[in-house]
C-alpha cells in the first residue's frame, strides 16, 4: 500500500518550477499512466486508518486529490455525515487546486462539479460559491462557455438564489469550445495559453457537447436574473445575444421570441422607449419574430406616444397573453413606469410648475398627484423638490425640477471612462482571436478564393494580398493552389 502512496506522491517532482513546458508534459503523461495502473481501490481504501486525502495537499497534488474525491463520491453511499465531510473536502479542493494540473483530468473535474451541484440542494445548502470559485480558479475569465455555466445557472435558480450565479454571469463569454484545427500544432496544455478556449475544447472534458439551445437558455435565464436585479443594460445585452443568435435559413427559436418580448419591455422600463434594433439583426428572422410578438410592439407604440389610457386598455385586453408568456409583472410595471415617464417628460419643458397643472396633465386629483410626485421623487427617479403652498392645499404646491447635475465627480468619471477603455481593449483581444480562428475556416478561404476570381472589376487595392510571402523556390503555382484548397 505504501507503494501506491509513493506512486501517488511522485508528482510533481521537486524541480517542477524549472521544467520546460515540454518536459512537464512528458512528466505528467508518465505519471498519469502510472496512476492508471494502480488498482481502483487505491482511492477508497484507508491507509494506516487514514483517508488517502489526508496525505495529499490539494494545491500540490491536485491530480490524485481530484481522482480520490471523484472515486469516493461514487462510493460514499447515503450517510449524511460522510457526504458532508466530502463536500467540505471538495470546497477545500476547489478553492486551492492547481489550475494547470486539472487540465489533464477535465472530465473528472466536471463530474465532481456536477456531483456537487446535485448534492447541494439535497443537503439544503444554498451557497453555491464553491462552484463559482472553482470555475473562476480554472478559468479566471470564465469566458469560454461550458455546460457547467448553464448547470450552475439552473442550480442557482432552482435553489432560489439567482444572485449566486452573478460572479460567472457578470463575465462576458468570448468563445465557445471548438476543436483545434488539424493544420495547426496542438498547444501544450501546460503552457500558459493566452485565452481559456485554448484548453477548454470539446475533447478536454470540461464541457459536454453543446447545442444551440443551451446557449440560448443560458442567456435567457441570465437575462431573467438581471431583470430581477434591475440591471437593465446587462439584461439588454443578454436578450440581444439571444435575438441575434445566428440561424440557418431564418429559422426562429421560441426562445428568441421570448427574448424579444422581454427585450421590448426592458426597453420601455429602462429608457421609456423601445431600444433601437441592433444593426446586425437578420431582417428575415426579425420579421418572423415580430409576427409572433405583435402585441408587445403595440404596447411599445402606446408607451412611446405616452398614451396611458390606450396602454391601459391594451394591457387589460391582453392579460391572458401576458400571463401565459410570464410577462404580466413586467407589463404591469411598465404601466406605472409610463406615468413616471410622463412626469419626467415635463422637466424637458418646465423648470417650475404648480402641482395642479401636473394633476390636470395626468388626469389625477391634486392630492393624488402630490402624493404620486412625492413617491417618484423619494424613489430617486425624479430630480425635483416640492414646496408646499401657504394655504397647504395640494393644488397650490409647487413642483420644482432641479438641474440635471451629473452625480459623479470628475474623478469618478475619469475612472469610469478608463475602466470602459480597458474593457474594450480586452475585448479587442478576444475579437482578434475570433478573427484568427475565422480565417482558418474553409468557408473563409473559399470566400477569399472567390474574391480573387472576381477579376478586373474589383478594386485593385482589394485584390492585392498584403500578407503575401515570397514564393518558396521549387514550389510551383499548382503547389500553391493545393495549400489554399486543403
Amino acid at each position: 500500500m505504501a507503494d501506491a502512496l509513493s506512486v501517488v506522491l511522485s508528482f510533481p517532482p521537486e524541480n517542477v518550477a524549472k521544467l520546460s513546458a515540454k518536459k512537464y508534459e512528458e512528466e505528467v503523461h508518465t505519471y498519469m499512466k502510472r496512476l492508471n495502473q494502480l488498482p481502483p481501490t487505491t482511492w477508497t481504501k484507508a491507509i494506516d486508518k487514514k483517508n488517502l486525502l489526508d496525505f495529499l495537499n490539494p494545491e500540490v497534488n491536485s491530480l490524485p486529490y481530484l481522482a480520490t474525491l471523484r472515486a469516493q463520491t461514487d462510493t460514499v453511499g447515503k450517510d449524511r455525515k460522510a457526504i458532508e465531510h466530502l463536500v467540505n473536502q471538495c470546497a477545500v479542493f476547489f478553492a486551492t487546486f492547481d489550475p494547470i494540473q486539472v487540465r489533464y483530468l477535465g472530465s473528472q473535474w466536471t463530474e465532481l462539479v456536477v456531483w456537487l451541484l446535485d448534492i447541494l440542494p439535497k443537503l439544503g445548502i444554498s451557497d453555491h460559491s464553491t462552484v463559482t470559485t472553482a470555475m473562476l480558479r480554472l478559468d479566471p475569465t470564465a469566458g469560454t462557455f461550458t455546460s457547467t455555466h448553464l448547470r450552475l445557472l439552473r442550480a442557482c435558480l432552482q435553489a432560489g438564489v439567482p444572485s449566486q450565479a452573478l460572479p460567472i454571469l457578470d463575465k462576458d463569454i468570448y468563445a465557445f469550445p471548438v476543436d483545434q484545427r488539424k493544420e495547426i500544432p496542438d498547444e501544450l496544455l501546460s503552457e500558459d495559453v493566452e485565452l481559456s478556449n485554448g484548453f477548454i475544447t470539446p475533447k478536454s472534458g470540461f464541457t459536454i457537447k453543446l447545442k444551440p439551445e443551451y446557449v440560448l437558455e443560458y442567456y435567457l435565464l441570465g437575462a431573467h436574473i438581471y431583470i430581477g436585479r434591475r440591471n437593465f443594460s446587462r439584461a439588454r445585452l443578454f436578450l440581444e445575444y439571444v435575438v441575434l443568435h445566428p440561424s440557418q435559413q431564418q429559422t426562429v427559436s421560441a426562445l428568441q421570441v421570448e427574448a424579444y418580448k422581454k427585450w421590448v419591455m426592458v426597453g420601455l422600463l429602462a429608457e421609456g422607449k423601445s431600444y433601437p434594433l441592433p444593426k446586425t439583426h437578420g431582417a428575415g428572422v426579425m420579421k418572423n419574430i415580430r409576427a409572433v410578438a405583435k402585441p408587445y410592439d403595440v404596447l411599445a407604440e402606446c408607451f412611446e406616444r405616452r398614451d396611458w389610457r390606450k396602454y391601459q386598455a391594451e394591457m387589460d385586453a391582453g392579460t391572458q397573453t401576458w400571463h401565459e408568456d410570464g410577462n404580466l409583472p413586467l407589463v404591469k410595471e411598465a404601466s406605472t413606469a409610463l406615468i413616471r415617464y410622463r412626469v419626467m417628460d415635463l422637466q424637458k419643458t418646465y423648470a417650475t410648475l404648480p402641482v395642479s397643472r401636473v394633476a390636470a396633465y395626468l388626469g389625477f386629483k391634486p392630492e393624488a398627484a402630490l402624493q404620486y410626485l412625492l413617491d417618484v421623487i423619494s424613489s430617486g427617479h425624479l430630480h425635483a423638490s416640492i414646496a408646499p403652498s401657504h394655504d397647504n392645499s395640494a393644488a397650490n404646491a409647487v413642483l420644482r425640477f432641479h438641474e440635471l447635475t451629473p452625480s459623479m465627480t470628475n474623478l469618478t468619471a475619469d475612472n469610469e471612462l478608463a475602466a470602459q477603455t480597458k474593457r474594450i481593449e480586452d475585448l479587442a483581444t478576444y475579437v482578434r482571436d475570433a478573427d484568427r480562428r475565422l480565417q482558418l475556416t474553409k468557408e473563409y478561404v473559399e470566400h477569399q478564393k472567390r474574391q480573387r476570381r472576381t477579376g478586373p472589376d474589383a478594386d485593385l487595392a482589394d485584390q492585392m494580398d498584403l500578407t503575401w510571402d515570397a514564393p518558396v523556390p521549387g514550389l510551383g503555382e499548382e503547389g500553391d493552389e493545393d495549400i489554399m484548397a486543403s
Binding site: 445566428p246 427559436s253 423648470a351 410648475l353
Partner: protein, 481 residues
C-alpha cells in the same frame, strides 16, 4: 379662396400696381385682391372684368361675374350675355379652323408647319382658357382648361428641330404650368403637381443647349420660376436659395420668345420680396449677412428698400423693429397671388402667415439666446402675441419648447423662461461613456455571432420549414444533466 380674414387696404395704389402686370394672370391677381381685401373689391373687379372682356376667355369672365355676385357687387354680377355668346361662338370657330389647319399640316408632313400649327392651337387654348370640362366624365378634367394648353405645347416637342425651338416650347410650358397652379389655388384645388411641372420644365430650361447669349436670358427665368414653385410648395429654404441666386439680369429682361416673365408672372420687385421673406424665415443671422445682404441678391433688395431694412434690422438683433416693418406690409404681400395663396389647398393660413410665424419664432429663439432668464411678460412686450388669449405667449413658448425649436425651460409659477445650464465637460463625458458602452455592446454582440457560427451553434433549420421552430423547446429537455 378659402383664406379667411379681410385685409386692410394695402400701401400701394391698385391701378399703378396692376399696370406692372399683363397677360392671363392679371385678372387672377385682381380676383385674389377682391376676395381678400373688401375695400378694394369693387375697384379690382371692375378692372378685372373689363380686362377679361378685352380678351377671349369667356370662362374667366363668367367666373369673375360670379365672384362679384358672391361679394355683393350687384352691378357687376350680370354678365354681358351678347358678348359672351358672340365671343364663345368666335372661339369655337377659331378652334375648329386651327384644328383643321393642323390636320392639313400633318397630312403634308412638314415638321416646321406642324410645330407652328401646334403652337397656334396651344396659344388659342391659353387665351380662351381651354375647352370646358365634360361634367359627366371626370377623366376629361385633365384635358380641360389650361391643361389643354399645357398638353398642346407639350406636343410641339416632336416637331422641334433646333434647341431654340425647344427652349421656346419649354418657356411656354413653364408659363402654362404657373398659370395652372394659380388657377388651381383659386378654385380650391391642389397646386402641388403643377408646381412640380414648373420645377421640371424650369430645370430643362437651364440646360436648353442653346447658344450662350440665348442661355443667359433663359437662366434668370428658370431660376426665378424654380423659386416660385418651391415657395408655392412651402419649401421655403429651397425657395430662398433659388431667389438668392437669381441673376440680376432678371430685372428688365424684356420679352423672351414673346413672353415677358417680369410682367406676366413676377416682377423683379416681387422676386426681392419673395427672396427676402424666405431668407429671413430660414437663414441664420450670419447667412443673412453673408449671402443675402452681401451677395448678388443685393441688387434685387435695392428695389424694395423696406425689405432690405427689415433684414438689416434682424441682423442687428432689432427683432421688434424688424417684425413691425414686416407687419406694415402684411396686407400688400397677402394680396400677392403667390405669397397670399393658402399653404394647404382649402386650408387656413397663407404663405405670408407661415413665413411671418417662422420669422417670429426665429426672432424669439435668437432673442432668448442672449439671456439666461426672460420673463414671459417682457417677452410678450417685445413680441406681442398674435392672439388675444390669456395664455397666448405661454402656449406659443411651450409649443416651441416641445417641438425642440427653443432650448429653454418654463418656470410656470413666476412666468419666467429659463435657459438650461449645460455643463459641457459633464455632457462630453456622458456622451463619451454612452458611445463607449455602445461600442462595447456592439463588439460583444458581433463576437457572439462569429463565435456561435464558428462553433457550429447556429439554430438548425426547422423540419417544418420556415416559421418559428417550436420543436427547439421540446428538444432542450434536461439533456445537460
Amino acid at each position: 379662396m378659402a383664406v379667411n380674414g379681410a385685409l386692410p387696404p394695402p400701401t400701394f395704389d391698385l391701378d399703378a400696381w396692376a399696370n406692372n402686370y399683363e397677360g392671363a394672370l392679371l385678372p387672377l391677381r385682381l380676383a385674389h385682391v377682391a376676395t381678400r381685401c373688401p375695400p378694394l373689391a369693387r375697384q379690382s373687379l371692375t378692372t378685372a372684368i373689363s380686362a377679361a372682356k378685352t380678351g377671349k376667355n369667356v370662362q374667366l369672365y363668367m367666373r369673375l361675374c360670379e365672384l362679384a355676385g358672391h361679394l355683393g357687387l350687384d352691378d357687376l354680377r350680370t354678365p354681358d350675355e351678347a358678348w359672351v355668346s358672340k365671343q364663345d361662338e368666335g372661339n369655337k370657330r377659331e378652334l375648329s379652323r386651327l384644328e383643321g389647319e393642323l390636320r392639313g399640316y400633318k397630312n403634308n408632313l412638314i415638321r416646321e408647319s406642324i410645330r407652328m400649327g401646334q403652337e397656334d392651337l396651344a396659344q388659342h387654348h391659353l387665351v380662351t382658357g381651354g375647352p370646358l370640362p365634360d361634367l359627366s366624365n371626370p377623366q376629361s378634367l385633365s384635358t380641360a382648361g389650361y391643361n389643354a394648353a399645357y398638353q398642346a405645347f407639350g406636343k410641339m416637342r416632336d416637331y422641334c428641330t433646333t434647341p431654340t425651338h425647344m427652349a421656346a416650347m419649354t418657356l411656354r410650358l413653364v408659363y402654362s404650368a404657373v398659370l395652372m397652379a394659380v388657377n388651381a389655388q383659386q378654385t380650391g384645388g391642389s397646386a402641388m403637381h403643377h408646381f412640380n411641372s414648373v420645377l421640371a420644365n424650369a430645370s430643362r430650361l437651364r440646360t436648353a443647349g442653346v447658344k450662350e447669349e440665348e442661355q443667359v436670358k433663359l437662366t434668370p427665368i428658370a431660376i426665378a420660376m424654380t423659386g416660385i414653385a418651391h415657395l408655392g410648395q412651402g419649401n421655403y429654404r429651397d425657395a430662398a436659395a433659388s431667389f438668392r441666386y437669381t441673376p440680376a439680369e432678371y430685372n428688365n429682361l424684356g420679352p423672351i420668345h414673346g413672353a415677358d416673365f417680369g410682367r406676366l408672372v413676377a416682377s423683379a420687385n416681387d422676386i426681392a420680396i419673395y427672396g427676402g421673406l424666405c431668407s429671413l424665415a430660414t437663414l441664420s443671422r450670419q447667412e443673412l449677412i453673408d449671402k443675402v445682404l452681401g451677395g448678388t441678391f443685393r441688387v434685387f433688395l435695392e428695389l424694395e428698400p423696406h425689405m432690405r431694412k427689415a433684414i438689416s434690422l434682424y441682423t442687428t438683433a432689432k427683432y421688434q423693429a424688424c417684425l413691425d416693418t414686416l407687419q406694415r406690409y402684411y396686407s400688400d404681400w397677402s394680396l400677392d397671388v403667390f405669397l397670399g395663396a393658402a399653404v394647404i389647398a382649402g386650408g387656413n393660413g397663407s404663405h405670408v402667415d407661415r413665413l411671418f410665424a417662422l420669422i417670429r419664432e426665429k426672432s424669439i429663439t435668437a432673442y432668448f439666446s442672449s439671456f439666461s432668464e426672460v420673463s414671459l411678460a417682457s417677452l410678450a412686450s417685445t413680441f406681442p402675441p398674435t392672439t388675444y388669449a390669456q395664455t397666448a405667449m405661454e402656449d406659443e413658448v411651450l409649443s416651441m419648447i416641445d417641438s425642440g425649436r427653443l432650448d429653454a425651460r418654463l418656470d410656470a409659477l413666476n412666468g419666467v423662461l429659463i435657459a438650461p445650464k449645460s455643463d459641457v465637460r459633464a455632457a462630453v463625458h456622458a456622451e463619451a461613456k454612452r458611445a463607449a458602452e455602445e461600442v462595447e455592446r456592439t463588439l460583444l454582440l458581433r463576437l457572439h455571432k462569429v463565435n456561435a457560427a464558428l462553433a457550429g451553434l447556429e439554430i438548425p433549420r426547422s423540419k417544418a420549414g420556415g416559421g418559428v421552430g417550436w420543436g427547439e423547446v421540446a428538444a432542450m429537455g434536461d439533456g445537460v444533466y
